[in-house]
């Protein structure tokens, strides 16, 4: 009998926690919808995500193979263009629209992975360093300072030079410096939160350190982390594009916006769309991500000043 009663109690406990969570989420979503620019950004990002996921089905042609006859075909609205290839074709006769759609896959994946791993590593290291202090904190902070004395792109390019081009290496290069910002953020917050009374209270009731950190970080720090992560995602996408542009990132034939823009350079005079249109796609995506990020900042905590 007591087992059942206990079970019922636990379920009730979780139900209330779940209720709270659901309520928080619904009110958050409501605020998000009310915030016009953030909502716009979120919608556009959603479109990109859908396009990237459904690429094989919605892309009008294959991005990998081209027909040489269609080399440098102009976009549909220019003379000589065709509605079969709305945005024209590149130097190998590949449909530009399809390549751009597939390129979204790369950019989104890089953005999410690079930021995600940076957040994970940064938050983990930052909370440990901030909570326990000691030599771990010292060493890591010095290391972080050292990393910060390199300009981001220079550092990334350097790492790419060492490990070689490619998708995984790119993520590695970006995260190697990316975690530092989150590390500092979380560490800083941890240092100030640690002195607050509720931590002492939790310790007094004998809660384990890990539990204290987990239940501390979640409410107070997660907001600033989310905002920063969103704002940095756009930056990661631009970095990936820059590296691919230089030929050090995603290698052909995988379509990536950066390398497409680079390939289009040779045809600046004759086929302007090769370099311009992928950039427009990137601009729209990064713009939307930034809109969402700023909107999140307004909703979650307008007092935050992160730039």
């Amino acid at each position: 009998m007591s087992n059942q009663v206990q079970e019922r109690k636990v379920i009730d406990l979780y139900k209330t926690k779940l209720d709270i969570l659901v309520k928080d989420l619904t009110s958050f979503l409501r605020e998000l919808i009310a915030h016009r620019t953030a909502f716009l950004g979120a919608m556009i990002i959603l479109i990109y995500i859908l396009a990237a996921l459904l690429a094989p089905w919605i892309a009008p042609h294959t991005p990998f193979q081209g027909r040489l006859r269609l080399r440098l075909l102009p976009p549909a609205w220019e003379s000589g263009g065709s509605t079969l290839h709305l945005l024209g074709c590149d130097e190998l006769g590949r449909d530009l629209l399809s390549r751009i759609i597939y390129g979204a896959r790369v950019s989104l994946l890089v953005g999410v992975l690079a930021v995600g791993i940076s957040v994970f590593v940064g938050v983990a290291l930052g909370s440990i360093a901030g909570y326990y202090r000691g030599w771990f904190d010292q060493v890591l902070s010095r290391f972080a300072d050292l990393l910060l004395s390199f300009p981001y792109l220079i550092f990334a390019i350097f790492i790419m030079a060492i490990v070689g081009p490619g998708f995984a290496n790119l993520i590695f290069a970006l995260t190697l410096k990316g975690w530092v910002e989150f590390f500092r953020l979380v560490r800083g917050e941890m240092l100030s939160e640690k002195t607050k009374e509720y931590v002492d209270a939790a310790k007094a009731t004998g809660r384990k350190d890990f539990a204290i950190i987990a239940s501390e970080i979640l409410p107070n720090i997660i907001h600033s982390v989310i905002v920063l992560a969103t704002l940095r995602m756009g930056w990661m996408i631009i970095m990936e594009a820059s590296l691919s542009f230089l030929g050090l990132g995603i290698q052909p034939p995988t379509p990536a916006w950066g390398s497409m823009i680079n390939a289009g350079r040779a045809y600046m005079l004759s086929a302007w769309w090769l370099s311009t249109l992928p950039g427009v796609a990137m601009l729209a995506l990064v713009l939307s991500i930034n809109l969402l990020g700023e909107g999140l900042r307004d909703i979650l905590d307008p007092r935050l000043k992160i730039d």
């Binding site: 050292l146 220079i154 390019i157 060492i162 050090l248 950066g258 005079l269 950039g279 990064v286």
Partner: protein
């Protein structure tokens, strides 16, 4: 007080630069593959002895820590090793390209600040006006845009379509001014060479705009936000109550205070500037360090790659040092 602070900052910079040099060196030597093979280009007709000789020439036969010591020693003397591809000191190659990079960086910085500061001030003073809204929207787009793409678009519009500005390069060869500093604009001014001045400026405009736009966007936003805060302060009210003209209230009292957090941001953005510098140089075929490092990476010319990365990092550290020093002048509250 202030001098102590400055000396402290300078002293802190030294171990940082040392750390940079060491970490670059160590990373470099983690590369898979044998640099000698790279140098030889996979040629198979080279004998064992010749290979050994090559190894010795570049000091690659010594243990790692010895190589590190040699490297650091060389660094103090300004010797960064020899290029694999061109067989001459990497430092020489770097110094040749350094003025070009510095000129571009300065051009971008100048463009960025000249645009950002007035806009930041005016947007704050006339909050929510048309000028505020449009400039902040423009700034927002600016931070979402990849610099190299902006550069290409600018070229396509201004060079290809409108034929107003040159496509690439620093200057038409025939017009190159006599060497004083290596900065063509400055040199042509100093030697009174008007055609060179005009041409070098024409070549400098588009790259500076492409590179400086992101800086301008970010600085404008940060300055506006600081100014808004500062304009609400009591000391601004007092300045008005003293009978000061509004212009002086804004520029003398408010701006000084608003610049304090802004300068910090500028320091960080110089890092972004240096990174973007590399890309813009590629886009505009600007003969600076950026192109050097990219080309060297493709040629696996490790000493040059190493050297340029270190130089870039050093420039960044120095720039931040300058910003820190400037900060101590702006903010009298900084104590030990």
């Amino acid at each position: 007080m202030r001098t102590i602070r400055i000396v402290e900052r300078v002293l802190v910079a030294v171990p940082i630069m040392l750390g940079v040099a060491i970490s670059v060196f160590l990373f470099m030597h983690l590369t898979p593959g044998d640099p000698v093979d790279v140098m030889l280009g996979g040629a198979s007709y080279v004998t064992e002895e010749e290979e050994q000789a090559l190894r010795k020439e570049f000091g690659l036969d010594k243990p790692l820590h010895e190589q590190l010591m040699l490297f650091l020693g060389g660094l103090m003397r300004g010797d960064l090793g020899n290029s694999f591809t061109e067989r001459r000191p990497a430092a020489e190659m770097i110094l040749e390209r350094l003025p070009a990079t510095v000129e571009l960086a300065l051009g971008a910085l100048l463009f960025g600040l000249v645009i950002a500061v007035p806009i930041g001030i005016i947007s704050a003073v006339k909050q929510n006006s048309l000028i505020d809204r449009t400039s902040m929207a423009a700034a927002f787009i600016g931070i979402s845009m990849p610099g190299f793409w902006l550069g290409l678009v600018l070229i396509m519009i201004f060079s290809v379509r409108l034929h107003l500005l040159p496509v690439a390069g620093r200057i038409v060869y025939a017009l190159k001014p006599d060497h004083v500093t290596g900065l063509y604009v400055l040199d042509s001014l100093l030697t009174g060479n008007f055609p060179a001045l005009v041409d070098s400026i024409k070549h400098l405009i588009l790259p500076s705009v492409a590179l400086g736009s992101v800086l301008a966007a970010i600085v404008a936003r940060v300055l506006r936000s600081s100014m808004l805060e500062v304009l609400r302060a009591d000391y601004v009210s007092l300045a008005r109550a003293k009978g000061l003209r509004e212009y002086a209230v804004v520029v003398k009292h408010a701006l000084r205070n608003a610049l304090i957090p802004t300068i910090t941001v500028v320091g960080i953005q110089i890092g972004v500037l240096l990174g973007g510098n590399m890309i813009i140089e590629t886009v505009f075929a600007w003969p600076g360090l950026g192109r050097l490092v990219v080309n060297s990476i493709f040629a696996s010319d490790y000493p040059v790659v190493q050297g340029t990365v270190i130089v870039y990092a050093f420039i960044f550290v120095l720039a931040n040092l300058l910003v820190d020093i400037l900060y101590t002048f702006l903010n009298p509250k900084i104590t030990m």
